[in-house]
Amino acid sequence: MSAHTLSFQNRLTRESIALSFLSNLECSGCGTKYSHKQIHTFCPLCQSPLVARYNLDAARQKVDRDQIIRRPKGMWRWHEFLPVLSVENQVSLGEGDTALLRLNRIGNSLGLSNLYVKEESSNPTGSFKARGLAAAISKAKELGIKKVIIPTAGNAGGAMAAYAARAGLRAHIFMPKDTPFANIEESRIAGAEVVLVDGLISEAAGLAGDKARNEGWFDLSTFKEPYRMEGKKIMGYELAEAFNWELPDVIVYPTGGGTGLIGMWKAFDELEALGWLKNTKRPRMVAVQAEGCAPVVKAFQEKAAFCDFWLGAHTIASGLRVPKSFADHLILHDLYESKGIAVAVSDEAILEAQREMATQEGIFAAPEGAATLTAIKELIKIDWIQPEERIVLFNTGSGLKYLNYHQP
């Protein structure tokens, strides 16, 4: 047992609180409840994603918000609201508590006085995917799962391979053959079996699902298990803390599968139920997609409840090449509820924004992150955001993963 784990356990004993207030799983569609002590994927009755629920009434009585602030940094300091029941099963590589950086130069040039970026590239394996996979792999370990499989557009594969290695689980990954080389190699070096697919993540998902059913692998596809969202939602907790328990006005989020967007909205629900927020004002959520793959934008414009499958998806932002998210209806629900919007941006504008973030602010963003800067420029044009609003962009990963787009 590591010194870190020992000190963590000592602290838990001192504080006399539960490691987690996880109470059950609940279907996001039909509301059926399931035990968190058993392995579940998605709802067998209506095939909607399952969502983890916590005993927030008890947590409200027993957890001190300001005590959490004093804990060592990292995602697991919010352990009461994460699904892992035992410290031994927390698989960590140091994820979470990424920097919230003010973008002064870009903000000034755009006439925005409170523009920020949540810099997720400092997570292990260089992307926000570390959060979700840390939670999912930890819970898989706790539930006795030995081998995990994932279809990925890129960064989720690298993150899963790393956390699976750390947990001692076997990992199998299906990814499109044009996935950035860094994602392929980081997965392979961590010991994952990698299969390159002639297609998109939707095709990879079909193959992963088949292998999971036929050979007993546990499928960690986005929203086909309940726990990746729990890791991602902590981004919402961190934002609330950073803004002194008042949420920002606008969150601009690159949206492929939508785990982070849905997760943060869930975090805000939980924080409100805990009574930790100073007011009930919520951010307007902005989903950013690429023009070459914009199913959420199309559905939003049509005021639809579900997305149509996007044909011929193409964009340099590989994380946005998701023709239809399994949780599309939840993304759309949260956009509508937050009075948000969905925006599509071109690859050319993404590359331009990537260069601008690097030259003006020193941030080498992933194309998905750069897309958020492009999106706010579009929103300024239509007067959708105001100069003094507190706006948070999400850079979901490191531009270093995508060097193939910058070769001469």
Binding site: G29, S202, A205, A305, F309, H329
Partner: protein, 126 residues
């Protein structure tokens, strides 16, 4: 409601699931386990909508869609077809739409979405 849905699906578990959700909404289901059986049933049943699994044991779902679209009966040739696949391969969606399907969905299908989609087609044909 009384609308009739032709459900072409060779997997008994999937058929049971679809039957449960659609019958609970008041639709009546005509079941077919393969493509040729489906085409035969479509000839004598008054079908309002088709749920079409692409991976079938005899002719594939694309061929079923093409034959339905070429049917001399105007109602059958224009019947809404929702294509469903389990193991989506590159270009499956395009192939389904080119074969005459109105909508493409990949498994696992959110049953609330399926019901919503079916309702939309039904209200358009009322």
């Amino acid at each position: 409601m009384g609308h009739k849905i032709l459900c072409i699906e060779d997997n008994p578990d999937n058929m049971t699931l679809l039957k449960r959700v659609l019958e609970s909404r008041g639709y009546s289901l005509v079941e077919a386990r393969n493509g040729l059986e489906a085409l035969a049933k479509a000839e004598y049943e008054e079908i309002d909508l088709v749920l079409l699994d692409i991976n079938l044991p005899d002719i594939d779902g694309y061929e079923v869609a093409r034959r339905l679209r070429a049917n001399p009966k105007p109602n059958l040739a224009a019947v809404p077809i929702i294509a469903i696949t389990a193991n989506a391969l590159k270009g499956d969606a395009e192939k389904a739409l080119n074969a005459g399907c109105n909508l493409y969905m990949s498994k696992p299908i959110n049953l609330q979405e399926l019901w919503t989609r079916v309702e939309t087609f039904m209200s358009a044909t009322k």
